[in-house]
Amino acid sequence: MDQLRIMVCGSVDDGKSTLVGRFFHELGQIKSDQVQTIEKASQKNATGREKSGVVNLAYFTDGLRSEVENGITIDVAYRYLDMAGRRLVVADAPGHFEFTRNMVTACSQVDAVVLLLEGHSGLKEQTRRHLKIAQWMKIPRILAVVNKMDLCGFSQEIFLKRKQEIESEAGMAEITVIPACALEGHGILSFAGSPLSWFRGPSLLDWLKQVPGSSVFGHEDASLRLSIQGRVLGAGSDEAGTLAVIHSGRLQREDCLQTPEVSGLVQVLEIQIGDQVTNHALPGDPVFLKLDREVAAGTLLTLPEKGPLSARRWKVEICPLLENLDLSGKEFWLRTLLAEKKVRVLPRATSTPGGFAQNEIQEAVLEFAEDFATDTRDFSGQGDLGRFVLLSLETGGTIAAGFFLGV
């Protein structure tokens, strides 16, 4: 079974949770005890269009007390479904500006995005923001669903107008656009016999079957990126080994690897996965290695001549995730898959207090105490090492997401 991880996003009240609930319901994936919970929540909190005893399927994913009470999504909920030959992971993201950090969290875990907008009201600020963030995070496939088509008379003309608007907003990127009415279930599994039967394109389900899945880990055919995770604890010294993970590329026994920090090469004497000795290992493989010397945890190993860039100052793009952040000139922990280092955000002249606006993608320059080696976001291995987060020195909390652009 392959895997497809998607996020459902878009502005507040455009019907994200209802769409997710409807999709699972139509496929018969909501169990009786879960239906009871949804019915109870619906009775207690009838609002808006869901009034008059109708079951509000949004409560399938909106499960927190405050979400049920306020009829909103606060944090991303993950739901799982097996289609023919495919595991589908659905992340239902919140639409509010203040919870954009949770949408960014969801976006970082998926292969494809389903972006909702309303037929009658069209693109809103948060729709545009979610699209921009998904493109920034290099999500290769985007499906725009023009929802609530019942509120605009299932009009083909209005759909085409919305289609044009979202396509021009997306720019050059490929985007598929379909109409739907999640509340009544039109366009979810099919359009046949629905007021939208004029539409000649994929339903949500059709699209989800066609979109290529991908792996949590990097590409096998990219340059090798391997990081040391620690050492095997144990008595006998001949059992001692090194714990490592491969982020991209292919590791072979007898490979001679270089590290940005140390001169000279490190040779791989033995590779083991679980209790099996093997000649090679692939991305994501948790390996036990025997190396010809000790290498510290957090070290990056690559093939010679194929290593990353190294510099003290890095040009980056960041998206601050909390409000009222004072970034300019301040110090933070920068964390990548590999390591954590202290950095300073160089000040820049802008009108925003603190120099950086919340939930906006902005360029910045970061300064490390010494040379820092990593990949840029355009690295072909999926750019795993080209990504970072900034952490508050005081609380340790994650406050911004970012990509390395270059030196």
Partner: protein, 310 residues
């Protein structure tokens, strides 16, 4: 149709993801601990820990001890299984008892015909974390199980009282796991390496590893009691049925294994993992639908998680 570049086996990806999280936990925390209940999820965590830290031939050791919070209401089969597994693995097991928290006046037993110590476990867990100075507790919770667990991060921060703040979770980006905590504030981390596993995945994973699982998960005859609210429970010395309860011998298995006082059996004839999976697909209820502890209110799990629960 475009064929995916490589048809990946999602179970292998789940294993890799979980092992990655376990190794990051060992790397980032000073004193992590693995919570073990005797159920299938923590059993899977034990075997994934072997794959993460023990390269075979007797080499390697877990970089964390195992902690069992013993309510005193366990299925005897679960305790037997625990002791046999620990003897096989030779890892360090710590047991802390809810009974002792009650004796020390730190927790109070529920009264009534069907008292549960489910909630009281949080007190014993928090006390054990403090006693040993554990800064991270690895648990077998899965997003697929329950609506508040559906919102969990891999590294999930708890304050000094062990409380989860679901309205204010940290962003968690890509596979970059942030184990930093405010120094001196008594915060701790809960770690959920199995977040993305479904109930089926857990069974397929255990089956693929060819490991023994507790007999409770397969059909057996057992004296059961039907409570006036319609829920069935196993008969045990810890329940005190009222005259309006029905007591019968039934052929049952358990889909989740918690306390005898809050885990409802499923009527079943499934004797193997494969038969259980076929039967589960036809059952009208979800996995946690068999947990009486989830039914005490609309947000029972969320509320317990705010009290320091797993």
């Amino acid at each position: 149709m475009v064929v995916a570049m490589s048809m990946r086996d999602h179970l292998s990806d789940l294993e890799k993801e979980s092992i990655y999280v376990l190794r990051e936990t060992a790397r980032q925390f000073k004193k992590p601990v693995l919570l073990f209940s005797g159920g299938k999820d923590s059993l899977l965590l034990m075997h994934l820990s072997v794959k993460a830290f023990r390269p075979g031939k007797g080499g390697g050791r877990f970089p964390y001890p195992i902690l069992h919070i013993d309510t005193g209401h366990n299925f005897p089969e679960a305790l037997e299984f625990r002791d046999r597994l620990m003897a096989d693995l030779g890892e360090n097991l710590i047991v802390r008892k809810v009974e002792d928290s009650i004796r020390a006046g730190r927790a109070v037993d529920e009264t009534g015909p069907f008292p549960s110590r489910n909630r009281q476990q949080s007190v014993t867990l928090m006390d054990a974390m403090a006693e040993f100075g554990f800064d991270a507790a690895i648990g077998g919770a899965r997003r697929d199980e329950e609506k508040s667990r559906a919102k969990e991060r891999f590294f999930s921060l708890r304050n000094s009282a062990g409380a989860w703040d679901p309205k204010n979770q940290r962003p968690e980006l890509w596979r970059i796991l942030n184990g930093r905590m405010r120094s001196g504030a008594g915060e701790q981390m809960r770690v959920f390496p199995l977040n993305n596993w479904t109930e089926n995945d857990v069974w397929h994973g255990l089956s693929r590893m060819k490991v023994e699982v507790p007999s409770l998960y397969f059909a057996h005859t057992r004296r059961c009691v039907r409570r006036p609210d319609g829920n069935w429970l196993a008969m045990s010395p810890y329940v005190f049925p009222t005259p309006d309860c029905v007591i019968e011998e039934r052929m049952v298995r358990f889909r989740t294994v918690g306390d005898m006082t809050c885990t409802a059996p499923v009527f079943s004839s499934a004797k193997t993992i494969e038969e259980c999976l076929v039967e589960n697909a036809q059952l009208p209820t979800s996995e946690r639908g068999t947990r009486v502890d989830d039914q005490t209110s609309d947000a029972a799990m969320e509320d317990r998680k705010k009290e320091g629960y797993f």
